[in-house]
Symmetry: C2
Subunit: 478 residues, 2 copies
């Protein structure tokens, strides 16, 4: 049959053409497909299973901090969007407008939400009255729309899935603390579940969220040396509660404005998983997030007892890991490539000789290493190996980031680094936006963040040579 | 403090004004709130927790049948919507149109999805080639928009949340079987989890989904005798695959059209939960779906050891049920009313005398019955009682439906029933749409379904007196 002969089509080497490598992996690992709708992607079952695992584990972490899920309308009336000046200026140029409902032209145009601060503020204005109504710790999982000109699956699409948390607090201290707490939740999730090391820091004013007092970010580094903003947490202080008039009566019966935060992480993070861990054979998934952690592949299936043994092994492992088997009549070589492409962390091969010896073969996706292990305590061997793979992926990513993090004391060094071996650049900054603009113009690198962990690279701004205020992490970014 | 004195505001009696009772419950149990967006609601934390429980349990059932989740774009290009004639005629009058993206007028208008058959068909056209690509068993959880003129929370809103399954099969038999299988999944879920008895049947041609060959439905009966369509499953046969050219090569290398289904259940079902189980004290939730199954309320909290014992009891129960306690300084009477209003299935009271006797008081939400039970085996007592409550709610709802199901042999009987005591009416029908139209005109009742379990009420059509073809369930509906 024709399909039996189908070979797993090779993907472009990342060293040859990184963007093409990325697109090949997305398409051939069946994560996402293009749709007939400009700039919008279809998230296929394997990609969506990845997102479901992200949702589940992140949602649990949110709920542990007291967050509750809600659902707000997907439309925002134009007048509501306009209440906070900076916010509307930031988002209006990139929104989709609904102008007609059924056969009738709408009296007021509606925006398809690009983010929902205005809706949450409107609701908080209605439901917050007393200090007893605080804090409000709301989150929603939904899709948002931003009209993008150039798009790439997961990294930049007109519609994307995300979660957006929106909280309201009595004091400025509390909203600041919540902003940092949620940034830490993101960082912990990325490092411990996705095996992606991140740098935590504050965005410069130029890169701040439209309407926020402070924006904090976690930044990660891809294989090609480009940065990816992996999650952001914003402290609004009272900048939204004033225009939206969200006030409460405090214990002394005085009227006070609430202090707010918002924080989001999107399907973009799937792009980071691909570009941090992937290799020239395809996707490499950290076990804690992999939809399939172990794939059992029978060898010499036609031999008596092999299929049964493979099934028995799968059933045993189901109790401890996410395991599947492939009992189709495709040849083992095809199957090996297919599940390598799909990034399954661990492959188990089992054939007649193995059965005779009461063993099976474990093959790691991250290193390719093969080990023969006894079937007696296979559950233990598999779970231990998955832990090793998880740790190894994190360490490899951290090592890669270290190797691609440089320091620059002047613009010559700065541009030379980006020309020769792109990565994160640590360099001092005077705090003046003119220097930030100039660096971007000269190198197309942007300030990724002012990291919490500051170092003293030199005394002077890398750009203008004046007295430096902060060390900034710079890089070209997705 | 002012808030301490707040009494739980009484809700309207359902016998006095059923629609007002419904609105009161939705608002006061904090399930949903109105938004500034016409016809769109805000689903509040308690309402959304209910939806999350529905999602979780339904999704597990879908996955057991092999269904995989995906995500399609929320926009449909106008040209794509128009590919299937009946479908566009059915939906075009009630959709929201996006005509502008950012600052630019769109070359082709986009519809905000009212349902996603066209998007799934477009994708299936691209990815289905061989019999080996079949079946495709996809589902998505998302929101959809239908421009409604009059709206009510959960029952009819411009935007609502749902799941929509879309499958493609090799043969007509398979698509028919899948349609019925998913209808059965819905029926089983409604009866065993939501404690809502349903009638399974087929929709008449008039009530069929736009573009479907057959539509099947589960119909439930509310407290006020009105019907609510609780889930539908459509068999498209090849009616969509022909205009969308979704073809595959079969084993004999012949080109064949696929056969498709779709099926959906929405946040409407929360309206059914309210109107099937609720009473004049508010919401009554079946334990299997309740966000909080047990609420622990300490009595005489100021007495030494009471708060500690209530907390200890809560911690013990956490291992077996979804339990919370209320240790705020509001008085017990306020708390009793509050959690009755919220439909918490079981309340536990514990005070100094109980502690002395090593007991606590269990109070059922469904019957109000109080029992004193030993703390020694409280886990067992609570789980057993929750099962009893679940069963009792189902039996009560079934009893109520039986009491409100009538038979009519002619239009005099038919109208008399609806005037005096609305409910389901079993009556024979000739199969002619003219009679269906006439019945609706005369009584505002519609055909709910042609139930799978047919009975022989008489030989002749209840409307025209000609030879009857089917027994139909009729009723006024939400």
């Amino acid at each position: 049959m024709a399909d039996d002969k189908k070979l797993v089509t090779a993907i472009t080497d990342m060293e040859v053409d990184f963007p093409q490598w990325y697109t090949d992996v997305v398409k051939k690992a069946e994560l996402a497909d293009y749709s007939s709708v400009k700039g919008c992607m279809i998230i296929e079952p394997y990609g969506f299973a990845l997102w479901e695992n992200i949702q589940k584990q992140l949602d649990e972490r949110f709920k542990e901090t007291g967050v509750e899920n809600v659902y707000m309308p997907m439309f925002i009336p134009e007048s509501l969007l306009q209440k906070e000046k900076d916010h509307v200026e930031g988002f209006a140029p990139e929104v989709a407008w609904v102008t007609q409902g059924g056969d009738n032209k709408l009296q007021e145009r509606l925006v398809v939400r690009p983010t929902s601060e205005t809706l949450f503020c409107d609701h908080y204005h209605n439901v917050i009255h007393s200090y007893r109504d605080l804090p409000k710790l709301y989150n929603q999982w939904c899709s948002v729309v931003r009209w993008e000109k150039t798009t790439r699956p997961f990294l930049r699409t007109t519609e994307f899935l995300w979660q957006e948390g929106h909280t309201a607090h009595a004091t400025a201290e509390e909203s600041y603390e919540k902003t940092i707490q949620m940034l830490n939740v993101y960082a912990d999730f990325c490092e411990n579940v996705l095996a992606i090391p991140v740098i935590k820091g504050e965005k410069t004013e130029k890169e701040r969220f439209a309407g926020a007092k402070n924006t904090y970010t976690i930044e990660s580094l891809m294989h090609d040396g480009k940065a990816l903003q992996s999650g952001t947490s914003h402290n609004f202080d009272d900048l939204f509660s004033k225009p939206f008039e969200i006030q409460y009566t405090d214990k002394d019966n005085k009227l006070q404005y609430v202090h707010q935060t918002s924080w989001g992480l999107s399907t973009r993070i799937i792009g980071a998983i691909i570009m941090v861990h992937g290799d020239n054979s395809g996707l490499v998934l950290p076990p804690r997030i992999a939809p399939i952690q172990v794939m059992v592949i029978p060898i010499a299936m036609q031999k008596e007892g092999v299929v049964e043994k493979a099934q028995e092994l799968t059933d045993r492992l189901k109790k401890v890991v996410r395991v599947k088997n492939d009992l189709t009549d495709k040849n083992p070589g095809w199957k090996f490539s297919e599940y390598e492409m799909k990034g399954v962390p661990l492959r188990i091969e089992i054939g007649p000789k193995d059965i005779e010896k009461n063993q099976c073969v474990l093959v790691r996706r991250d290193t390719g290493e093969k080990t023969f292990v006894s079937l007696d305590n296979i559950e233990e061997s598999v779970t231990k190996l998955l832990d090793d793979i998880q740790n190894n992926l994190y360490n490899k990513a951290l090592e890669n980031r270290k190797n691609k993090t440089y320091t620059a004391k002047n613009m010559d060094e700065f541009t030379k680094i980006l020309d020769e071996h792109p990565g994160f650049i640590k360099a001092m900054w005077c705090g003046d936006q003119a220097c930030e603009d100039k660096i971007k113009e000269l190198t197309s690198a942007t300030s990724r963040c002012i990291p919490f962990e500051q170092e003293e690279i030199s005394d002077t701004c890398v750009c203008c040579g004046k007295k430096a205020k902060h060390m900034v992490i710079w890089g070209r970014a997705y």
